[in-house]
Point group: C2
Chain length 116, copies 2
DNA sequence: ACTTTATTTCAATTATTCTTGTAATATTGA
DNA sequence: TCAATATTACAAGAATAATTGAAATAAAGT
């Protein structure tokens, strides 16, 4: 159930900009409520079309989801995919030497199945 | 003790390329042993100077560390910083509505201090 | 000292991404 | 239907990043 590499790269690209990182964290803070595009743009203090450009990239990558509400577009952070991304990163960590993991304090290695 | 936004952006940029993502995951698998630049280049099947270019970016961002060993440069994944990056991402998640967190299955929210 | 090996640096080219402005689409309310 | 609002689409220029090749540095072995 691991992510495709291509998917992971797109997700990191989607996070690799100050604007988009701010947007994502804003949506994480909003939780399930999310925010509509105009609110996000107001919050970012950027032109609406620029924010829309970034939101498009983020939703295309899967980092956020979008739902239409009349003439509004409501965006939400896709936290489930973020979890998969983290798992992808730490997949097979310290392979063969699980005893290294605790000292490196990596969550994957603290798991009971680490090193399997 | 949260990361600076600029630091977080640089880390995501460092992960936002197929080549660098492969390198990072390779180093994660290697654990504390790490790998020297030439081994990494051989593993990536890319020109050494190209790999060096990417490694420089990654180490400048802090994603990996580098230690000189004679004429070799040994690179290791900086897992401690990765942990901080994850914390930065999920900081203040679902602020004010901690009851949303479990259903979103985000690790930060499963923590006992979620919503504080 | 000389040669080989490991790695980095620099410069040039190509490719990609960001921003801005303007126009288009589509929903709502009068 | 008409006007206003929310948002996206498109195009052009500016800014960044990636790749390649050639040269530089620096440690190790002879």
């Amino acid at each position: 159930m691991s992510l495709e590499k291509e998917t992971a790269v797109k997700l990191f690209e989607a996070l690799a900009s100050g604007v988009r990182l701010d947007i994502y964290r804003l949506l994480v803070r909003q939780g399930h409520e999310g925010m509509v595009a105009g609110q996000i743009a107001a919050n970012m203090d950027l032109p609406a079309n620029n924010v829309s450009f970034h939101l498009k990239g983020m939703s295309h990558a899967g980092l956020v989801t979008v739902a239409q509400e009349g003439r509004y577009q409501r965006y939400r952070a896709n936290l489930a995919l973020m979890q998969q991304l983290l798992a992808y990163l730490t997949d097979e960590c310290c392979a063969g030497q699980p005893q290294q993991c605790p000292e490196l304090a990596l969550p994957c290695c603290a798991a009971p199945d680490c090193g399997e």
